[in-house]
Point group: C2
């Protein structure tokens, strides 16, 4: 494993200006540099959702406690971690209000009013919002007490259509992770024990963090008819029969910011893929000593003006601060901007710019014309390179084991993902978790059925599951 442990993570993300700790335990401030990443992720996700005709809406933050009690598994799953409003407007409230940890209950209360006929289906709704879950062991971005997310909620006429939709969403999330965030991972189905409280099935994209622990990247749930029965969401089908709808819900959160930062970072700081970096390019003029040499000073500025036209399609920043070039280089290394253009006396004399590739820590000299011709390709190459590294790291740290001894050795010594036969009985899953802190992460999609023995109980097993310790 790399040296990028949780200390590296916490120190680097604070220093780079992604967050600050909030006054209430487990809360954070999403500082502007970190929030820009979220805005980009939002834009991509929202664009993909709009293509599927999912409509945005906004539902109340406060959920009456009685709503949460309507679906038993859901209540059991969420009640230990909710925050509760008991006073408002100077008075004690008659009914306590739950600050939403997720909005299935309140949204389906409305679905039951909005859906009457098969003509109203599918109903495809999304909400961008904050949610609150009282975490016992909070961790910035990955496990915040309050986080930002989108939560999608849909209703369909058939189970088949709902499952297809849940998997379509998983595909979008996978695309976001792979093509935008540059993070390799495994798409799969959660075990019964690890699925969302109230879901029939939960689909996930599981990624590996540099410290060897797994992270659930997002979830897409097949809710079956659990909630439609609890909230009476019914429709009249084409034959006039009244039926319960089939539902899905799905979410991706600001934990993506933490994952992104941790996966690609290196010993000098953050390394962002161009598609999601707050800026793609930073220009560092080096004229601290040249201010007296007007000719050079003017030439540098002239180059910057010409450069601006070439890079106008990208988000760039020009660092005109009074710091030394060395300080600025360190600062932008830390902040992870993929391309840095350095321009000083040397560059002006050679009529070439110094281009610094953050991912390979590599300097290239090129003319303005070469920059213009190569810029788009260069940024694409950085994007691909980061994804490839993430894929190699994850695959290298995914080990198939045949015995429980081997399993424990990998979990405790190598860390990372373990692939192993499991009989799918909860008692084995529970014992493994108790003894190794490793949990089932998912049954990867499209994995072929084969035949083996459960690593724990040695009974017959049909599927190879992915295990890991996790956040």
């Amino acid at each position: 494993m790399e040296i990028k442990d949780s200390n590296w993570y916490l120190k680097t993300l604070i220093k780079a200006g992604l967050f600050d700790y909030g006054p209430v335990k487990g809360t954070i401030v999403f500082k502007p540099y970190g929030y820009r990443i979220w805005e980009k992720i939002q834009k991509y996700v929202d664009g993909e959702f709009k293509k599927l005709s999912i409509a945005n809406a906004y539902f109340p933050l406060f959920i009456p406690e009685s709503f949460l009690k309507k679906e038993k598994q859901h209540l059991e799953g969420f009640s230990p971690e909710v925050a509760i409003v008991t006073f408002a407007g100077g008075e004690e409230l008659e009914e306590r209000l739950i600050v939403r940890p997720t909005s299935e209950t309140i949204i389906y209360h409305f679905f039951s009013q909005w859906v009457k006929s098969y003509r109203d289906l599918p109903l495809l709704i999304n909400q961008w919002s904050n949610v609150v879950r009282w975490e016992k062991r909070p961790f910035p971005f990955l496990r915040n007490t309050e986080f930002l997310w989108q939560e999608g909620h849909t209703a369909h006429t058939s189970h088949q259509e709902a499952v297809k939709f849940a998997l379509k969403i998983l595909e979008i999330y996978q695309k976001i992770y792979q093509e935008i965030l540059g993070i390799y991972g495994y798409a799969g189905k959660k075990s019964k024990n690890e699925k969302f409280a109230g879901a029939k099935d939960t689909y996930t994209y599981e990624i590996l963090l540099p410290d060897g622990k797994a992270l659930q990247g997002c979830t897409s749930h097949d809710l079956g008819q659990n909630f439609s029965k609890a909230f009476e969401v019914k429709f009249q089908d084409q034959k006039g029969q009244v039926k319960y709808v089939w539902q899905t819900s799905f979410g991706i959160t600001t934990r993506t910011i933490g994952a992104l930062s941790w996966v690609h970072g290196d010993n000098r700081g953050l390394v962002f893929p161009p598609t999601v970096s707050p800026y793609q390019i930073v220009i560092v003029p080096i004229y601290s000593k040249e201010k007296n040499n007007k000719t050079v000073y003017n030439k540098i500025n002239f180059y910057i003006e010409r450069m601006k036209k070439i890079i106008s399609d990208y988000e760039f920043i020009i660092d005109q601060s009074e710091h030394t070039p060395g300080y600025k280089f360190n600062e932008w290394d830390l902040k992870g901007v993929p391309l840095r253009i350095e321009i000083g006396k040397k560059e002006v004399e050679q009529e070439k710019l110094t281009i610094f590739r953050r991912d390979k820590q590599q300097r290239l000299m090129m003319t303005l014309e070469e920059l213009e011709n190569n810029l788009s390709f260069l940024l694409k190459e950085i994007q691909v390179n980061l994804y490839t590294k993430s894929k190699e790291f994850t695959e290298k740290n995914t080990r198939f084991v045949k015995s429980y001894e081997e399993f424990k050795k990998v979990i405790f010594v190598n860390k990372g993902f373990v692939k192993a036969f499991w009989c799918e009985q909860e008692k084995c899953e529970f014992k493994i978790k108790e003894e190794t802190k490793a949990t089932t992460r998912c049954l990867p999609l499209n994995s072929e059925k084969s035949s083996g023995r459960c690593i724990y109980c040695k009974q017959k097993a049909e599927n190879i599951w992915l295990f890991a310790q996790s956040y």
Copy 2:
């Protein structure tokens, strides 16, 4: 006054699908058709803010009660209307948590850590979020218990710079109201009694609703050093001296959706200006009876395909539902889409489309080519027409009065805005409010000083203020 009273408002906005009442008193669901308007307003405001280099960030929802107590006026202003979390994670909390009614206190707690030197200034931050204020008499969109908004927060080296910034923001809000929402109003300064709790001065844009009551459209505050002193937000100036920063805060909310709907609506429903309408164009194919006449049916579809290319730069919707044309016309009248294109047998035979202008309830026939040439102009004309109507209505209902008798007559009979001399003493303002329910709305900007007598106490007065009953 028009017949568009509060009953019209509530019925029309529900029927048009803008909102539903939430289960907790004073909360609403922003339904997709209403939320689309908010997304458009967000986009415009965010774009204007980015031009001023205001950076988005996100601060925690929960504010420790002790923070609110640091600025006295602020505490007094907000404590009657806050919601309070007392339980979380299964336990009673040691310190009660306020669900943010606004975020000055928590944001300036961080400003005090982020600002050290004049080099860190101006600090320009914005947050898009939900806030909670426990309203005694809630009213959908205009006075929700939970609403959505942006809240901007800045810190500057001088009072002059802060005031200039607050006024620049007011100018942006005024532009949003006039050019985007098509709503005329008065930009001005609030009285001491009506300003934001904790501000030195509050600037506002006051508009008139069709029932004759005023609405505060937005606010931009000169906070002076009230909060910087309470939260120790200090900087070292260029001479090395340590000083408190000068601050502003400002916000525009989802109440804009309610204002927009009410101001432009008519006896058939909503009428949206093109810039902010969820859709600019709706196409209603009329072929219910033509399904057996394949030639006409195909021709209609052929026209629609050609039309799609012409209107591809706009947001349009094609109503292919099974309802009758009459039903659809009523529905889209209600929903306020500015242009409707009707295409049936008659249109195909004449090789012309029927274009229905929602604002004037006027039908025009034009060829595809004429549509292409006139579309952009037509939409601009609708935008201008709605603004002009709003301006005329507001000006007609703004009356200068010379006596308190006249004042009361206007407030009770005519309603609308009243312009009158006021001595600027709180006791007169209070008496007027007590006796007429009218409050000072603002001292319009750029109003010239003149000389008169306070309509209440008849003492000398230098300024003509705007009064009205309000939401």
